[in-house]
Each structure stands twice: as C-alpha cells, then as structure tokens.
C-alpha cells in the first residue's frame, strides 16, 4: 500500500513537471562542433525557464552546467530541452563536455 502511494506521488511529480514545460519562458541554444550560438543567453531571474538545445554539428555534444544542474548528451542532429530552476540574478556558465573550448553563459536579470 505504501509502495503504491509512493509510486503515485512520484508519478504526480513527474507528470506535473511535464505539464508545465509548455508555459515556460524559452530560449534556444545551438551547439555546432564546439561553437555555441548564441554564447550568451539572457533569461529573467526568479522563474523557471527552458533551454531548447539543438546539436547542428556533425559530432556529438554534451551540454553541461553544474550551476544550472543540467547535463545532456546530444547525438549529431538531435534536439532536446532542459528545464532550469529559478535563478538569482547573476551569470551561470555552461560548456560542451565533448568540445571543451565551447563556453557559454546564462545571464539572469
């Protein structure tokens, strides 16, 4: 009985997360074999937001950012998104783990 309740609770958390993904403030990022376009993403502070990440390069890329608590591997041509928690005003870096020269920043205002 307790296991069932826990499972239902977990399902509710997951489903609610999915339901809200569409109303979120959205920004886009392109990863291209070690180049980010744009290098700087501006988002409003204090609200959850979504980054749609697209790998337009010919090699795999990994969007990684510990400040944003997000990590995502993208095969060439793949597109996905990450939902980031509300940020206090400031700058939060991210990079491509497979092309370490690629460095970007999310600016929350």
């Amino acid at each position: 009985m307790r296991a069932a309740t826990a499972a239902l609770g977990l399902a509710a958390v997951l489903l609610s997360g999915m339901a809200h993904a569409d109303d979120l403030h959205t920004v886009s990022l392109e990863m291209n074999d070690g180049k980010f376009v744009p290098v700087r993403l501006e988002v409003p502070a204090g609200v959850k937001f979504k980054i749609v990440v697209r790998n337009v390069g010919k090699t795999a890329a990994e969007f990684e950012s510990l400040p944003l608590r997000k990590e995502k591997v993208l095969a060439p041509g793949a597109e996905s998104f990450v939902v980031v928690h509300p940020l206090r005003p400031g700058e939060y870096g991210f990079f491509d783990d497979f092309h370490q020269e690629a460095q970007g920043v999310v600016v929350a205002k």
Partner: protein, 273 residues
C-alpha cells in the same frame, strides 16, 4: 585526435579510479583474489550496459522522457555511492580478519555478497560515463578514418593500463597502510561527488526542495560552470552555487561515513563443531 583521446580519458578516469582501486585492494592481499572474477564480471557488464545505453541515446532518445532518464541515472548514482561507502567500511572491518574468516562458516556467505557488491560497483562506474563515451565515439567515428579511430581506442586502453600500473606502483612504493588510507579517501570523495550529482537531479526534478538556493556563490573561488571547475567538482562534490539541501546532505554523508568507520569490528562467533 588528441581531443578524442582527452575526452575519452576524462570520461573514463572516474571508472578507472574506482576499478583500479578495487583491483589494487583485491590483489594486494592473497586471500582476496577470489573477488577478481567479480570485478572483471562487473566491468564486462558495465561495458555491455554502456553500449546498450549509448545506442538508446543515439537511436531512441525520444522514447524515454527526460525525467525517466534522469531518474534512472540518479538511481545508479545513489546505488554507487552506497556501494562505495559499504565497500570502504567493509574493507576496514574485514581487511585484517579475512584470513581467519576463511575457516569459518561465514566465508562463503560473506564472500558471495561482497562479490556482488564489487561486481555492481564496477558495472555502475563503467556505465555512468561509458554511455556518454559511446555516443561521443560514434559521432567521432563517422568522421575519422578507421585507422585513426582504432588508434584512439588502443591509446585509450593504454591509458587505462597506465592508470592501473600507477596505482600498483603506488601500492609498492608506499606502505600498504598509507596507500590504503589514501585510496579510501579517494573513493569516499568520489562517492560524495556522485551523491551531489544525484541530489542535483532530485532538486531539478523537484523531488527534493532546495530550501535556500543558492546558499552562497563561490564561483570566484572555483567556477564549476567551466570545464576545469566541473572536473574538480566531479571528483569532490564541490558546488559553487549549492542549495541548502545539497550542503546538508553532503555534511550528513561525511558524518555517516565517520560514524561507520569508527564502529567496533563485528564480533566473530566461534563455530560450534
């Protein structure tokens, strides 16, 4: 090609450390060699899992929702963290009494469950970053000449061998006791790092509340939003923008580890003939 090598090394160094340390612990004491097959079994299982997971990411990425993928990764990390702590505590308690236990009825039971622990930990260590490496290599493989690709793989294996040799040498040139302590701490740090990553995921999925987020901003000290800072963070659990929950769990981890390490050794009950 140098970049390929560097990425492969970086993605596998965590697994190499875990497996290398376990290997050195196992062969360091003649009584423990029986766990070597479990270790290699775990590595094989991990490699198979990494390839399977990598292929899923490459060709069926949309089938699994992000939440499901994240939960799966989180589960693996929490399990690995628990196994690390269990392994370190176990070695502390049984390291010295191993020989005596060989002659009691406990031997097979203790041995088998410990073997499973070794296997599982090795497997998880490989799967974690292994699946990412598979995706990375697949993307690279499409553009490199086959010869260069094979060369990079061989070089990667050589690096793995080098890590092992270094650990073995370390075991020979410093006292076993000192070496054991250092590798214990290394493993526990890795466990802490995995725990922090798991907590990050749980915070992200809003299964855990952050309470205060961030508690501080130490990016001026080490900025974990850069590749270099991220590397340090992945071995220590450091966070430049920690949530209060993350800090509390981090402290609780170390408190628990200290308590477990200080517990008196389990009593051996003599077997009645």
């Amino acid at each position: 090609m140098g970049q390929v090598l560097f990425v492969v090394w970086r993605e596998s160094v965590e697994a190499l450390l875990v497996i290398g340390i376990l290997f050195t612990w196992i062969v360091g004491r003649p009584d423990s060699r029986r766990w070597l097959p479990w270790l290699w079994g775990g590595v094989a299982l991990g490699l198979a899992g990494a390839v399977a997971l990598g292929l899923v990411i490459l060709f069926a990425g949309e089938v699994l929702s992000e939440s499901a993928q994240t939960l799966f990764q989180t589960g693996l990390m929490l399990l690995a963290c628990a196994l690390i702590v269990q392994m370190v505590v176990w070695m502390r308690r049984h390291g010295r009494t191993l020989k005596r236990e060989m002659h009691t009825a406990l031997e097979s039971e203790v041995g088998r469950s410990h073997g499973w622990g070794v296997l599982l930990l090795a497997a998880i260590a490989v799967v974690r970053e292994g699946s990412e490496t598979v995706v990375f290599l697949y993307g690279i493989g499409q553009h490199l000449v086959l010869f260069e690709f094979v060369l990079a793989t061989v070089a990667g294996l050589a690096l793995a061998g080098l890590t092992f040799v270094l650990l073995q040498l370390g075991g020979k040139y410093v006292s076993w006791r000192w070496f054991f302590r250092v590798t214990e701490v290394l493993l526990l740090l890795l466990g802490a790092a995995m725990l922090m990553s798991a907590v990050d995921n749980l915070l992200s999925l809003e299964i855990l509340p952050a309470v205060v987020d961030p508690l501080w901003d130490s990016s001026a000290f080490i900025n974990d939003g850069t590749a270099a800072g991220g590397l340090i963070a992945s071995f220590t659990g450091y966070r430049a923008y920690p949530a209060l929950t993350s800090l509390l769990i981090y402290l609780a981890y170390w408190a628990l580890v200290i308590v477990l390490m200080r517990l008196p050794r389990a009593e051996r009950k003599p077997v009645q003939a």
